[in-house]
């Protein structure tokens, strides 16, 4: 019997108890705690992976396509990226873009032009292409000091 499992003398001060203490009960409690914490760890690790996108990578990748227009409705060459990743591409002269290898799940796609950007939340499905539709800038998007001063 290990030292931790030794019964206390207090248990015997009124004579022999009717039910002798189970020397393995403490060990059982510790193992129950270990198993409980292990299950909790797995759950938290899973949640953590979901939060930082690792789970999405494991779930596979998909593709997003769309078309970018400026505030006048003209197709533009813009930069398209996925927030929190290094994935990026440019739209062509017709404004069309195709971004492959996006981790599956809810992703934020940033469409940028002349240091202004718009965000689009896209539900990317593994192995599938998601049509984002039109990404259209507004006149106010380019109302800023740098766009105006560079135009002067």
């Amino acid at each position: 019997m290990s030292f931790e499992e030794s019964p206390s003398l207090d248990l015997y001060k009124d004579g022999l108890p009717s039910r002798l203490p189970d020397p393995s009960s403490k060990r059982k409690r510790i193992w129950a705690m270990i198993i409980g914490l292990a299950i909790l760890s797995v759950g938290l690790a899973f949640f953590n992976m979901a939060q930082d996108g690792t789970l999405a990578i494991l779930a596979g990748t998909g593709t997003a396509i769309g078309t970018v227009y400026d505030d006048q409705g003209n197709p533009i060459v813009a930069e398209i990226s996925v927030f929190g990743t290094t994935l990026s591409t440019q739209s062509d002269q017709a404004g069309h873009f195709k971004l492959e290898g996006i981790p599956a799940g809810q992703q934020v796609v940033v469409v940028a032009y002349r240091h202004s950007g718009r965000e689009y939340t896209v539900n990317v499905i593994a192995g599938q292409t998601t049509e984002m539709g039109e990404a259209r800038f507004q006149t106010d998007d380019f109302m800023n000091g740098w766009s105006q001063s560079s135009a002067q």
Binding site: M1, S2, F3, E4, E5, R27, I30, W31, M33, I34, L37, A38, L40, S41, L44, A45, F47, N48, Q51, S81, F83, V110, A112, H115, S116, G117, R118, E119, Q138, D140, D141, M143, N144, G145, W146, Q148, S149
Partner: protein
């Protein structure tokens, strides 16, 4: 033989306790990570507390001779230390070097501006920000006057890879213009997902966003303004002394 078994059982008990402690540490670490609390920050705070630091609300970071300027060609320059303070040329900015945190308050004081252009006057504070390989990532609070025909506005904006995201997180047109000859000091309190801006001690704007949980802080000027200021500092939220 019995002695061997006894030793084995005792050793096994220690292994169980070690396993239990390991799992408790693991669960605590994962929980803090999910809650967005950096274990490193927590450790630094605890050690600073044990050393008795910051009990007098000494700043977490303060303006000095060095500023982190972005490599992004969008910015025309950084911040220079002058004899009586600091200067940011039009469309220039910089971050306090080596400073980063989750929740804090930052204050810009002794502000003077020179309008180098009749349009796009403004200045502001960058917070929870970093200079990434593609440009600035983080938030800004700015007071801005587009031109004489437009009222002055204040707003929180988000930046991703050197790009300002539209629409703004929160914007407000001031009912009356600020005195550009004696422009207000400003401070920003960053707490969780909530940002609160103050001008000359008065709360003027509050916004919310969850994109960036941590980052540094700095100062910038708009394209039509040269900004001069006497001090800029970051303090913990426990200290109420940052020019509010």
């Amino acid at each position: 033989m019995e002695r061997t078994i006894g030793k084995f059982q005792k050793g096994q008990g220690l292994v169980e306790y070690a396993l239990l402690l390991l799992l408790i540490a693991f669960v605590t670490g994962l929980s803090l990570n999910i809650a967005g609390v950096s274990v490193q920050d927590l450790y630094n705070q605890v050690t600073a507390g044990l050393r008795g630091e910051n009990t007098d609300c000494s700043p977490l970071a303060r303006a000095g001779s060095e500023w982190d300027a972005s490599d992004d060609k969008f910015w025309r320059g950084g911040i220079e230390q002058q004899e009586d303070g600091y200067r940011a040329c039009p469309l220039c900015g910089g971050l306090l070097p080596g400073f980063s945190g989750n929740d804090y308050q930052v204050g810009l004081s002794g502000v003077q501006v020179e309008k180098t252009n009749p349009t796009w006057n403004g200045y502001g504070i960058t917070f929870r920000a970093e200079n990434g390989p593609k440009g600035l990532n983080g938030y800004m609070f700015e007071v801005e006057k587009v031109n004489k025909n437009n009222p002055t506005r204040i707003y929180f904006s988000k930046w991703v890879n050197g790009v300002q995201i539209k629409p703004y997180i929160k914007m407000f047109y001031l009912p009356s213009d600020i005195d550009w000859n004696n422009p207000p000091d400003m401070s920003v309190k960053v707490e969780g997902d909530t940002f609160t801006a103050y001008m000359d001690g008065q709360q003027v704007l509050q916004g919310k966003d969850t994109t960036y949980p941590t980052g540094g802080s700095g100062v910038f000027s708009n394209a039509g303004t040269e900004l001069n200021f006497s001090d800029f500092l970051a303090n913990s939220l426990d200290c109420e002394e940052v020019s509010q």
